[in-house]
């Protein structure tokens, strides 16, 4: 069974920050259709700040890395994304603790704790058309695969499930966040939060278990 260590977590964060930067305009464009046109800008500001802190964290334990990421996001992102992604990483930190490497099932349990934190902070449930709709199937896919599969298989399943979740809610009417003000007009727009969450699970896959 492969272990996930501090270097894996740092590599994932570097890749996620890079992809958020690359897709900043796309995320902001999605947000301008049903929100307030700042999701990509805010996420990029937060992960640029995270990126600046990573060099000092390479030797740290998993919990310290995740906690630093969470606090940095809360302090720099603003909007709803700051507290939500911040809470995700803080819960991850609590679950990972002072360990420097964890097994896949242990890592999956930490991601589950992160998801529960997001739901609690945002008071969102499935089908409200939020990041929860991408994160929930991704975590469930991880849990289903964790026991018997290798890392690559599990992370591939999670990334795929996140994308399916993201696309599944596109036709829905939003019930949380600024998109909910639009009522019926929020239907048939891809959700920016579910999109940035899908990018997160894709980065997790590509950083921790690169193909080939």
């Amino acid at each position: 069974m492969s272990e996930i260590g501090s270097d894996d977590l740092v590599r994932f964060l570097e890749l996620y920050a890079q992809r958020i930067a690359e897709r900043k305009v796309e995320l902001t464009d999605l947000d301008s259709q049903i929100g307030d046109a700042d999701h990509g800008i805010n996420m990029d500001r937060g992960f640029t700040a995270v990126l600046a802190k990573l060099p000092d964290l390479r030797e740290s334990d998993l919990g310290t890395i995740a906690k630093t990421v969470g606090m940095t996001l809360i302090s720099t992102v603003g909007g709803a994304s700051g507290p939500l992604y911040g809470t995700f990483f803080l819960r991850l930190a609590t679950a990972l603790g002072e360990r420097r490497s964890v097994t896949l099932p242990e890592f999956v349990a930490a991601v589950r704790a992160g998801l529960e934190g997001v739901k609690q902070r945002g008071k969102a449930e499935l089908d409200d058309k939020t990041m929860v709709d991408a994160m929930t199937p991704a975590v469930e896919a991880l849990e289903a695969a964790a026991a018997g599969s290798d890392l690559r298989t599990a992370l591939e399943a999670a990334a795929e499930a996140a994308a399916v979740g993201r696309d599944r809610i596109t036709p829905l009417v939003a019930r949380k966040g600024r998109a909910s003000y639009l009522g019926e007009r929020s239907a048939n727009h891809q959700d920016p939060g579910a999109t940035s969450t899908t990018i997160l699970f894709e980065a997790l896959r590509d950083a921790m278990a690169p193909a080939g």
Binding site: A37, G78, G79, G82, L84, G122, Y181, G183
Partner: protein
């Protein structure tokens, strides 16, 4: 994008530095981006703070000063501020009697203020929060994030700030803020879009002959796209839902607030106010006080919002009380 800026990334910082330079008699700006009343903290006085995304100037920084806010926390443009700001603001204005957070009802603002309130309470400062949600354009149901906080926030900050100034305690200042929130209704519209500096292009496209009814203050699309109409017709489209929602009845005394969204000249706001006054007269609603101007804006968006607050004697007295802020100043 044509804007009077140096760099999209430094707009908020540059503007705050300008505010500090322009109004040193009333406010100072502290890290991390908090506008604080010059003489804060005032011992024995309840602190009142607010905050929200930038781009709504003069809200909230322009309302910091004697008789109104003790501090304001501006976030990035249209983005709620971060908890560090509200924590710093709360500590900077705490005079030992607790601090009220006035929060506009947006998902991000709620979460960031909640985190800040938890942190402040952990440091031993008593914090209460009141959420302003006065926009009748949004359905208030389990299926939305609830009504947005818009024009009513300006009125709440003035009235509640005056109550804190005269020495009311945290419980009564909080109850008053809830009473203002319960009695205020607003609705807005846009003729044009606005451009977030960091985004560089208009938030939404709108035709020369179109308007957006029920818009918020972030350029987020409203509920209905319509063909342009006359000012009187538009005023009716905004006033009727406001009057019916409360409902405002014959004999009610109100404060009528006609607000510009940033790109509409005052002459047009007075055209709107004229119809607001006529409609109130027709319903037997008495306008006791009014406010006309650009107070809660959406960058350079053209359009307006209308707010009606049902007044009681205490609210009227506190509205009239002296105020000395960069954007509202009377009785001093």
């Amino acid at each position: 994008m044509k804007k009077l800026i140096n760099d999209p990334g430094t707009v908020v910082d540059d503007a705050l530095a300008g505010m500090a330079a322009a109004h040193p008699d009333r406010v100072r700006v502290i890290e991390p981006n908090v506008v604080v009343r010059k003489d804060a903290p005032r011992q024995g006085k309840v602190g009142v703070i607010s905050g929200g995304g930038s781009g709504h100037e003069p809200m909230h920084g322009g309302f910091v000063g004697m008789g109104m806010l003790d501090a304001a926390c501006p976030g990035a443009v249209f983005t709620s501020p971060v908890p560090d700001q509200m924590l710093a603001a709360t500590k900077a204005v705490d005079g030992g009697k607790g601090v009220l957070h006035i929060v506009k009802n947006y998902t991000g603002d709620i979460m960031n203020f909640e985190l800040a309130a938890e942190l402040a309470q952990a440091e031993g400062i008593e914090v209460t929060s009141v959420v302003i949600a006065d926009d009748v354009a949004v359905q208030d149901s389990l299926y939305t994030a609830g009504r947005r906080g818009v024009g009513g926030t300006v009125l709440a900050e003035k009235i509640v700030g005056a109550a804190a100034e005269e020495g009311q305690d945290l419980a009564s200042v909080t109850a008053l803020c809830e009473r203002v929130q319960a009695n205020v209704r607003s609705m807005g519209m846009a003729l044009t879009s606005c451009t977030v500096p960091a985004a560089g292009k208009p938030t939404f496209e709108i035709g020369d002959d179109e308007m957006e009814i029920g818009i918020g203050i972030h350029g987020e699309p409203g509920r209905e796209r319509k063909k342009l109409a006359t000012a009187d017709e538009i005023t009716e489209m905004l006033m009727t839902p406001i009057l019916d929602d409360m409902p405002f009845k014959s004999g009610d005394k109100v404060l009528a607030f006609v607000n510009g969204m940033g790109g509409t000249p005052l002459i047009e706001l007075y055209v709107v106010y004229n119809k607001v006054a006529a409609m109130c007269r027709d319903r037997g609603v008495s306008i006791e006080r009014n406010l006309v101007g650009n107070y809660i804006t959406s960058l350079e968006m053209a359009g307006c919002s209308i707010t009606l607050l049902k007044l009681d004697d205490e609210m009227t007295r506190l509205w009239d009380a002296p105020v000395n802020t960069p954007a509202l100043r009377w009785g001093v």
